[in-house]
């Protein structure tokens, strides 16, 4: 009885792990890619850590604000 219960537990744990991997891996991949210097959105080849995507996004936001005549 006890061993069947622990097998059951392992199956549940495995299922939950798989499920949350399915939920989160795509998002984790996307986050990693946001810091890859590669022009193409890929993890490999890793061309080095960069913040340029974030910076260019911020710059674009600033440009749009300036065009609309707002000061930051």
């Amino acid at each position: 009885m006890k061993s069947s219960k622990s097998i059951f537990r392992i199956i549940i744990g495995l299922y939950l792990t798989l499920f949350f991997a399915y939920m989160f891996l795509p998002l984790i991949f996307m986050t990693i890619i946001a810091f890859n210097a590669n022009d193409i959105p890929q993890i490999t080849p890793w061309k080095g850590f960069t913040l340029m995507w974030g910076i260019s996004l911020a710059l674009k936001a600033i440009i749009v604000m300036k065009i609309r005549g707002k000061n930051i």
Binding site: I12, L16, M23, F24, P26, L27, F29, M30, Q42
Partner: protein, 297 residues
Amino acid sequence: MRDFWNTALKDLGKIGVAYILITVGVWVVFMILIPQLIMFDYSLRPMLPLRDIGGPKDVWTLKNYMVFFTNRLHMAIFFKTIWSSLIVTVTALTICYPIAFYLAKVARGAKIGLLMLGLIIPYWINELLRLFAWQIILADMGILNQFLIFLGIIADPINFRMGNGAVILGMTYAYILFMVFPIYNVMESLDRNQLDAARDLGASWLRIHYKIVMPHAKPGIAVGCTMTFMLAAGTVAAPQLLGSPSSFWFTQVINTNFECANWNLGAAYATVLMLLCVVFMFMMLKLFKVGLKELTQ
């Protein structure tokens, strides 16, 4: 019905009842009824140049609907959309049922909160971004292909986005939460003693689920299935981002009609899709023998 009004008046007062009636009424009329009626009206009129609108040629006709029912390609796409949405619904139900049961009846204490958070966090991220993530994974030189090549399972990248598989996968991923929470909500109200009693009397876990949990969870399953089906049948983002040129979806047909400025034909197609969703909803209610009243619990 009279009891309902009496309790409502007692609990909320005259002003409260009036407020709810007015806000709900305004919402239903202006946000649901009028737009749908305008679309229905569009769908019944032929597409005309601007100067003919309101003229003698601008009469109600079923021509737009005839275009749909005589176009075999569009009919095929329509049935493909239904079929794929059903696959998405069944897959989501299969994946979510154990999760919902675990969350509602097995997990205890802080673990529930943690798992709940894990379910909700992906939904803080926009649906489009989540679909883009899958695009990155499934691309020709994407993560999945590179991983499989690295393992030596395949030599050349597989085009995962051929056919409908990628779109179905993306939809399942995007709408799984709409299946988990309705089922979780009803399962939570199930008395744990019932499960213990059944177990003590020697029922197998399969029988417990079939005889106790599923009948109790019926309204939640019905709601989850309807929502997932409607979202899957109505999304244009998933096929647009994950589909290939060889696979075309009904929502994309509607979209193309509107982009080609044939709003009337687009409206007719959209009406057909809406009717499908309504029919599906009532079929689910019938199938699970759930009344509209139970659905709102």
